[in-house]
């Protein structure tokens, strides 16, 4: 784990789970694997607090445990999963995708499961139905069956998966204090054959509308009874979690389609979308390209509102194949031409476009020209760079050295003589895409960390003002609920002066900008991470 990743993980844990979990998590990341005792000793926290934090982390899938170095008889060791923590940045994107694919019900299901880590199907259905009922007008309520059908669709398309079952070790003796801890080993979720099988649950009913607090006690008693009922739903022990990989595949496809639409046109984007949709189930997650599809199949599978003629489709496919971005490749001639989508190459090109854009925005378009030149031509001497880029020598030198000092360009020395005399050595400049992508990814992590810290600082500076405005809002809400006159309301509103109001407004604007910035940097992080993972997978 790099220093920036550790810092970002710490900030994310602190934001969602508080300081205690952040402390525990950061120590686990820094030290690799730790046992419970060692962790308590390192963090100097109470043992109960450490246990609670570990429960939270394991519940959310961010921490795994296993038998330690001393085998099953020794203490359990905990190992943290950093990627899962970094995925917390992307939660809004997952939820929005679920909303666009499966509507409000899907959105709420994914949101509930993301916030709670793992949930059983019945509890998810009940909670989501209650939430939807709460937003519906009086008298209507959400039927459980609709929520169940949305849940089933999510499972069928693999967006949700079962949590891997624990292979429990035999525990000798019951009730004695010396029982060895039952070390259960979680396995890869995909290796379980029932990973996407829906359990049969007997659940029928409607969402309950949450009453106001006057009925608090009756509600609590009802809630207690409901809790004892939930054990009879039939899906005890089957927990569901969000399948991040599937969401990532979906984002990758979206990126490719939007790139094609931007570069060529809408119709080409639709053709690529059709090809990707057809090969969803047949392509594995790490495949370099999709299964070959014939032009006939593509023609049949195009959506009906896109009635383009067959020869036009062929022209589009030829255009796509000839495009230098190499999104689509031709794999044969049978069936009117066999075509594949080159996934890894598409990712590499998208990453390259990102790198070029970064250089352009930070150093200007001429530096970007030098960068692109070096990307294409591999190794060039300084004189050749000046000539090919058509930039005057002095400026080219300056730009090259700036890029070199930022580590975006590397310098390779090739001596002509054994004594490495400078006048008799070639100095070649080059850009390597993969290390540069890794460097930029670390920059992105650092950026998000900086954005979060700045947001925390801004919030802390104006804490007094924020608390005051929250109190006033609460007073206003309670006054309105009890039906107060307009004069009273305006009186309360005037408790915030105009300059304070302005300050609040600008604070809100800043925080929105910082949050929005985090979301946008996360898109770049996703692209670079996908590219780096795809090159590692193909090795």
């Amino acid at each position: 784990m790099t220093a920036q990743e550790v810092r970002l993980c710490g900030l994310l844990l602190q934001e969602h789970f508080g300081d205690v979990v952040e402390n525990v998590g950061t120590h686990l990341i820094r030290n690799g694997v730790l046992t419970l005792r060692a962790l308590a000793h390192e963090t100097k926290l109470a043992l109960d607090l450490v246990k609670k934090s570990l429960c939270v982390l394991v519940q959310h899938g961010m921490c795994t445990f296993g038998p330690g170095r001393r085998g099953p008889a020794g203490p359990v060791e905990y190992h943290i999963n950093c990627e899962h923590i970094l995925h917390m940045l992307r939660y809004p994107r997952y939820i929005y995708t679920a909303k666009s694919l499966y509507g409000d019900t899907g959105e709420l299901i994914v949101e509930e499961i993301l916030q709670r880590g793992q949930m059983t199907m019945s509890s998810t259905v009940k909670t989501v139905a209650d939430r939807l009922t709460h937003n519906m007008p009086e008298g209507q309520s959400m039927d459980y069956n609709e929520v169940v059908s949305a849940f089933s669709r999510l499972v069928e398309t693999h967006f949700l998966q079962r949590c891997p079952p624990m292979a429990s070790a035999e525990s000798s003796g019951t009730g004695s204090a010396e029982t060895p801890p039952a070390v259960t080993q979680p396995s890869n979720p995909e290796s379980h054959p029932d990973c996407y099988k829906l359990p049969y649950i007997s659940l029928s009913g409607h969402g309950k509308r949450r009453r106001s607090s006057e009925d608090g006690e009756a509600d609590q008693r009802a809630a207690k009874k409901a809790k004892t009922d939930s054990s009879e739903c039939g899906d005890e022990g089957i927990h569901w979690q969000v399948n991040f990989e599937r969401f990532h595949l979906h984002f990758r496809d979206q990126a490719i389609i939007s790139a094609v639409s931007c570069k060529l046109d809408q119709t080409s984007g639709e053709i690529v979308r059709t090809m990707l949709r057809m090969s969803e189930v047949t392509t594995s997650a790490n495949a370099a390209f999709t299964q070959a599809l014939s032009a006939n199949e593509i023609f049949r599978a195009l959506p009906s509102n896109y009635n383009i003629a067959r020869p036009i489709l062929d022209q589009y496919l030829t255009l796509l194949v000839d495009d230098p971005m190499e999104f689509v490749g031709k794999a044969g001639d049978s069936g009117g031409g066999m075509f594949v989508v080159n996934l890894h190459r598409a990712l590499a090109n998208l990453a390259r476009a990102t790198l070029e854009s970064v250089v352009q925005e930070r150093f200007g378009s001429r530096s970007a020209r030098i960068f692109r030149l070096l990307l294409r031509k591999r190794h060039l001497e300084q004189k050749q760079v000046e000539d090919f880029a058509m930039i005057p020598a002095k400026e080219a030198k300056e730009m090259l050295y700036t890029l070199l000092s930022e580590n975006l360009v590397q310098l390779q020395e090739i001596p002509k003589t054994p004594d490495h005399a400078p006048s008799r050595t070639f100095y070649l400049y080059a850009v390597n895409q993969l290390p540069t992508a890794r460097l930029l990814l670390q920059h992105c992590y650092k950026t998000v960390g900086n954005l979060i810290e700045r947001r925390l600082y801004e919030t802390k500076e104006n804490k007094r003002l924020l608390e005051k405005s929250q109190r006033i809002e609460a007073i206003l809400a309670s006054l309105q609920a009890t039906g107060a006159e307009a004069t009273q309301l305006t009186e309360v509103e005037e408790m915030i002066t105009a300059p304070e109001r302005q300050q609040l407004e600008s604070l809100r604007h800043h925080i929105n900008k910082l949050d929005s910035g985090e979301n946008q940097v996360d898109e770049t992080i996703f692209l670079l991470e996908s590219y780096i993972n795809s090159t590692q997978a193909s090795r």
């Binding site: 109470a46 609670k52 927990h239 150093f363």
Partner: protein
């Protein structure tokens, strides 16, 4: 004419440096570079649009709601020297280190098992409190402990924290499932305001007055 062999020559091509022989070197810096140096190129503005706004709202909502979930762990406040009046009203922080949600313990290693904290009742819980006393007395074996507990209950009968304390005591002395059963049973009993042990059915009332007939009875 060269004075010494190779003494007056540079070993590399001077033009490559970017300045000639006679030019002055760039000035030295006296201070560290500024913290926020002026940028040569302004950054591109952020994306806008419905999608972006929606995700922004989602993000802020998630952040706010995650603070209210039981997964947000706050360290229990250490006991200060004197118990203050305001402690009664600041119930936001947990007083002990039980866990506030019940995970599936079969999926976690046994060593992480902590007592699950029951959700606290509201003020109306005093009814259950009064009912609980005879039950608590009946199940204890040690008389001293019984007296102690009753005494504590008398003193703290107004505070809601009692619920937690009694549960904790129960948990410490009995095993957890038993206490849960007790609790449930009490819930299902009739809710009356009358405590069985306080009820005095008046059988010994008339017996005492036989001895002192000459004293006036008021």
């Amino acid at each position: 004419m060269s004075r010494g062999r190779g003494r007056n020559q540079f070993t590399f091509n001077v033009d490559a440096l970017g300045f000639g022989r006679g030019d002055s070197l760039p000035t030295t810096t006296h201070t560290p570079s500024p913290l926020f140096p002026p940028m040569q190129f302004q950054p591109v503005p952020l994306h806008t649009g419905e999608e972006v706004e929606y995700m922004l709202a989602l993000k802020q909502e998630l952040r706010a709601s995650s603070k209210n979930l039981p997964f947000h762990i706050r360290a229990a406040r250490t006991k200060r020297d004197v118990s203050r009046y305001s402690d009664k009203y600041q119930t936001g922080e947990p007083k002990n280190n039980t866990i506030e949600w019940s995970p599936d313990w079969s999926r976690l290693p046994k060593e992480l098992c902590i007592k699950v904290r029951k959700p606290q009742k509201t003020i109306t819980g005093t009814k259950q409190q009064l009912k609980q006393r005879p039950k608590v007395a009946a199940s204890k074996e040690d008389i001293l402990q019984k007296l102690e507990t009753l005494e504590k209950e008398e003193v703290h009968s107004e505070e809601e924290e009692d619920e937690g304390k009694k549960k904790k005591q129960n948990d410490d002395e009995e095993e957890e499932p038993e206490v849960e059963e007790d609790y449930d049973e009490e819930e299902l009993e009739d809710e009356t305001d009358y405590i069985a042990s306080y009820f005095d059915n008046g059988e010994d009332f008339g017996g005492d007055s036989d001895d002192n007939m000459d004293e006036a009875v008021y």
